[in-house]
């Protein structure tokens, strides 16, 4: 582990911690503009986090230690996930610790804990949320893995850093397999990050909520950590998608000039991605919960198709 790599990793961590709430704020801003509302400031998520951290945490009498541990575990998993995904540079000492499959596993651990915590209090909404979260998860997880496998097969590596540098170096052509994978990835990331059309982050309507039902009992610092983790998840997903489908601008090892450029390029890519997310959320309606499996099964099939297209056409 060299010093330079360590510093790059540290910078990536700070960028993730600061950037994630900003992305969330940017999406909210864009959505407000698109819906003809006055937008909250870009730093609104930070203010919310600050407020929540100051508030007292209220915990139900029946809560077990799992309930109190979960916010920290979820936060840890999501931060680690955003360290594994190449954001600024592919030279990362953490990269060998976990590859694309482990990244999906990491999201799985977070999902397991947050579902268990939701069941822990024993309220009807909590178990409802846990059930729906696992329902979304069991289809989204394989679909995401299929997307990552497509990228892995193209670059013959499941290590994300190697994959991204291999994809960045290839000649620019639109590969049909990556096109299918991109579509699947978009669908999965909408579902996994609890966005419209799968879930609505702005409502507590009991019949439709998934993510909000899970975290209904959380307050104070626990809620703050979970909200931060949720924005880190969005950040990690966005960065993974950007790194696989638009890998240009991510610095290689020992390329200091590119490292300077990497941050503005990432900010640009995230800004465009965030705007598109807000656009999708504005023009689509939320679907019924039992349409979600169909939606995700489509994503899964598209992912499998992407792999088959790659293996058959070699493209």
């Amino acid at each position: 582990m060299n010093l330079e790599g360590f510093l790059a990793q540290l910078v990536a961590m700070v960028v993730a911690l600061v950037g994630a709430p900003l992305v969330m704020g940017w999406v909210n801003q864009c959505r407000a503009w698109l819906q003809n509302r006055r937008a909250p400031p870009l730093t609104m998520p930070f203010r919310t986090l600050h407020k929540l951290f100051w508030k007292e945490s209220v915990v139900a009498h029946d809560a077990s230690p799992i309930f109190r541990v979960t916010p920290y575990v979820v936060f840890g998993c999501m931060l680690l996930a955003s360290l594994i995904v190449p954001t600024l540079s592919t030279n990362m000492p953490m990269a060998p610790a976990a590859d694309a499959i482990a990244l999906v596993g990491l999201f799985g651990v977070a999902r397991l804990f947050i579902s268990l915590a939701a069941m822990d209090i024993g309220t009807s909404f909590g178990t409802l949320g846990a059930r729906r979260e696992m329902l979304v998860g069991f289809l989204a997880e394989p679909a995401f893995l299929m997307v990552l496998f497509t990228a892995s097969l193209i670059s013959s590596s499941t290590s994300l850093a190697t994959t991204v540098s291999a994809l960045a170096h290839r000649e620019f052509t639109i590969l049909p397999s990556l096109a299918f994978a991109g579509l699947a990835f978009t669908m999965v990331s909408l579902a996994e990050n609890a966005r419209v059309p799968v879930d609505n982050p702005a409502t507590h309507l009991e019949l439709t909520m998934i993510h909000e039902a899970l975290i209904l009992e959380y307050s104070g610092r626990h809620l703050a950590l979970i909200e931060w983790a949720a924005s880190l998840k969005l950040f990690a997903y966005s960065c993974a998608g950007l790194a696989i489908f638009f890998p240009w601008g991510i610095a290689e090892a020992n390329d200091h000039v590119a490292l300077l450029w990497a941050l503005p390029v990432l900010a640009m890519k995230l800004a465009i991605g965030g705007f598109l997310l807000a656009l999708i959320e504005t023009i689509l309606a939320k679907m019924r919960i039992f349409r979600v499996p169909e939606f995700l099964a489509t994503a899964f099939l598209l992912g499998v198709l992407a792999i088959l297209v790659h293996l058959l056409l070699g493209a």
Binding site: V58, S124, A130, F138, L216
Partner: protein
């Protein structure tokens, strides 16, 4: 002490087997002495298990050792052989049974149908049978010990033989076991190729034609599949596991299913030699169907032990998928990749032995504390049984295949194996095999759903019955067993490179390749089965970084803000009335899966009408294969029997006529 002959590992292993037998006999001698059996004999047996595991692990890298035991029929001695594969499975048996036996010492209670001493005898005969199956080096010894294993476990399943349902489950188990045993016997018959010599050494030397070797493969798949619980021969598993006492379920699910896997590896990779490519596809298809079926049914179960039984079916399916992938690669002489798939499969055997035993033992403690197997009547036990809950949580994470547990490592290796199928020369296989990979991923994700249901409904939430508040945590012997298996799960997850080095001699023996050389990558921390650029995973780093982030978040929040906490009633969106009955039941939690996979199930729904005075909603989920396969076979058998029964007229003159006709027919034949 140079003049003493060196003690061979195979002798030491046999000594343990004999000692187990002696412990069993001691139990028979002290038939009703409960405290002797529970407090002395079972812990002693656990120590013997450890000795066996140690012996096997030390023998693993060495050359195969053989011995001949002059027991059994004259001129037909038992041939024994301890090679890398046997040693690995013996180590698996020792490691898992050490925890299970200690637990059993604290688990069995007085007056559970069978007297404690007899139970002890059955239990140890079962252990002896399993160990001898792995040591056997001829078909005769193998079949005798295989039967010993089947019979001993039958008696263990029917420990509570006064309950009719349990007797029925035991009978079904015995039936399927024997149908399987016939297939295995036929398989050995094919393998010896008319030489009349039933030693494995002779079978190895035979060069069978593709037709006969395919016959042997299919018979082995069927015969060992019946023991392993492969579709459609899985029906005994969900019946026998809930019927048996929990340590026995743990032993059957954790270890006995692996003897069948051992048999498959032995026949396909050792005795048959080079597999054909379609064997691999057959194993992949059957394995994936089994895994998918198992996990979908596990999600719909309401009995906690049935749920785990279906989950075992799923895991066996995944193991067979790994073996199938290894066969596909081996058929094309891609031996390094075959070694990768085989290591994944064997690693998963070891993992499943530990985490499924752990979970079954956990259900045993819950069952003793609450007298309840039905998930719908449990809940909130984390508060009353924290030790069982936390150890089960480790098992649940492992069973869900999540990092940094051991279950993740084997799934990771298996998926890595699948990612290399692009190099297969056959274009149809290149197209087909990734679909299996997609199926495996789906199964792994569904396993997470099942495990959240299992843990959440039993241990979390509020107690669904008042009596649960009296539940007590496990006793110290039970805790020792649970802690041992938990530690095993954690260590196997954190040190995969060390485990792969242990498995490597097996793949060297059968395929000439191993993973350890490339797997080391100069670093014991980093698991990289092919090369570090290709793929790598380091569970320790993974765990340490997550733990560091968690600790830092914990400290920093308190440093910059505060750590105040207030206890209050749950909020629940402001609903004023909440009772424990408003939580999801097991049926409710499985409902989305039931709806999505509806064609898989045979469901009976009882819906109340609006005018019911006492409305009742009930849904039962049945295995469709029971109706599609078994009831049809039963009906056909009955029809044939009735037809044959027409011969029986009950009149002496008719029978004399039969004799006369037979005589005429025989005379005719001898003339011709």
């Amino acid at each position: 002490m140079g003049e003493l002959p060196e003690l061979l590992a195979i002798d030491a292993a046999m000594a343990v087997v004999v000692a187990w037998f002696a412990v069993g006999l001691a139990g028979l001698a002290a038939l009703h002495n409960f405290s002797l059996v529970a407090r002395v004999l079972f812990p002693l047996s656990a120590a013997l298990s450890l000795a066996l595991a140690g012996t096997a692990l030390s023998a693993l890298p060495g050359a195969p050792q053989t011995a001949v035991l002059a027991i059994g029929l004259p001129d037909l001695p038992f041939h024994l052989r301890l090679d890398a594969l046997s040693a690995f499975f013996l180590a698996l048996l020792g490691l898992a049974s050490a925890g299970i036996s200690v637990f059993a010492g604290g688990y069995f209670r007085r007056g559970e149908g069978t007297p404690p001493g007899l139970l002890c005898l059955h239990y140890h005969l079962f252990l002896v049978g399993m160990a001898m199956v792995m040591l056997a080096d001829d078909a005769y010894a193998f079949m005798v010990t295989w039967e010993l294993m089947a019979l001993a476990s039958f008696f263990l399943v029917t420990t509570n033989h006064r309950i009719a349902e349990i007797r029925r489950a035991g009978f079904l188990y015995l039936l399927v076991a024997h149908v399987g045993a016939i297939a295995i016997l036929l398989c050995f018959g094919v393998l010896q190729a008319n030489t009349g010599d039933y030693t494995f050494a002779n079978m190895r030397a035979q060069n069978l034609s593709p037709f006969w070797s395919s016959c042997a493969f299919l018979l082995a798949l069927f015969g060992f599949g019946a023991k392993a619980g492969i579709l459609p021969l899985h029906v005994w598993l969900p019946e026998a596991h809930p019927a048996a006492p929990s340590p026995v379920s743990a032993l059957m699910s954790g270890v006995m299913l692996k003897t069948a896997i051992y048999g498959m590896v032995r026949v396909n990779f050792d005795l048959l030699g080079s597999p054909l490519w379609w064997w691999g596809v057959a194993a992949l298809s059957v394995g994936l169907a089994t895994a998918l079926f198992g996990v979908v049914f596990a999600a719909a179960q309401v009995d906690m032990k049935r749920l785990l039984a279906y989950s075992s079916i799923e895991n066996v399916g995944l193991i067979v998928v790994g073996l199938g992938l290894a066969m596909v690669f081996a058929a094309y002489r891609m031996n390094s990749l075959a070694a990768l798939a085989m290591v994944a499969s064997l690693y998963h055997c070891l993992n499943h032995a530990l985490f499924k035993s752990l979970l079954f033992l956990g259900t045993g403690s819950v069952l003793h504390a609450t007298q309840e197997r039905n998930l719908g009547k449990l809940g909130g036990l984390m508060r009353y049984m924290p030790f069982v809950a936390w150890t089960s949580l480790v098992g649940v994470v492992a069973s869900a295949g999540l990092p940094p547990s051991n279950g993740f490592v084997s799934e990771w290796l298996l998926l890595q194996g699948f990612l290399f199928t692009g190099g297969l020369p056959n274009p149809y296989l290149r197209m087909l095999v990734p679909i299996f990979a997609a199926g495996v991923v789906l199964v792994a994700a569904l396993a997470g759903y099942v495990m959240v249901k299992f843990f959440g409904v039993i241990f979390l939430g509020r107690p669904r019955e008042d009596k649960l508040a009296q539940a007590h945590d496990a006793g110290w012997l039970e805790r020792l067993g649970l802690a041992w298996l938990t530690a095993g799960c954690v260590l196997l997850g954190l040190f995969p490179v060390a485990v792969i080095e242990v498995i490597d001699p097996i793949t060297y023996a059968f395929l000439g390749r191993g993973l350890a050389q490339s797997g080391r990558a100069g670093d014991w921390l980093l698991l990289a089965p092919v090369s570090a650029e290709r793929a790598s995973y380091s569970p320790i780093l993974f765990l340490l970084v997550t733990a560091a982030i968690v600790a830092a978040a914990f400290v920093l929040v308190r440093r910059f803000y505060h750590g105040r906490l207030r206890r209050a009633a749950p909020w629940d969106c402001g609903h004023p009335m909440q009772t424990a009955r408003m939580q999801d039941t097991a049926e409710g939690f499985g409902q989305p899966i039931r709806q999505i996979f509806e064609p898989f199930y045979r469901m009976h729904r009882e819906l109340p009408t609006p005018f019911d005075a006492a409305p009742r909603y009930r849904v039962t989920v049945e295995d469709p294969l029971w109706a599609w396969v078994y009831l049809r076979i039963a009906a056909a058998t009955e029809a044939v029997s009735r037809w044959v029964g027409m011969l029986q007229r009950g009149r002496i003159s008719i029978y004399l006529l039969y004799s006369f006709l037979t005589l005429v027919a025989l005379l005719f034949l001898t003339q011709a």
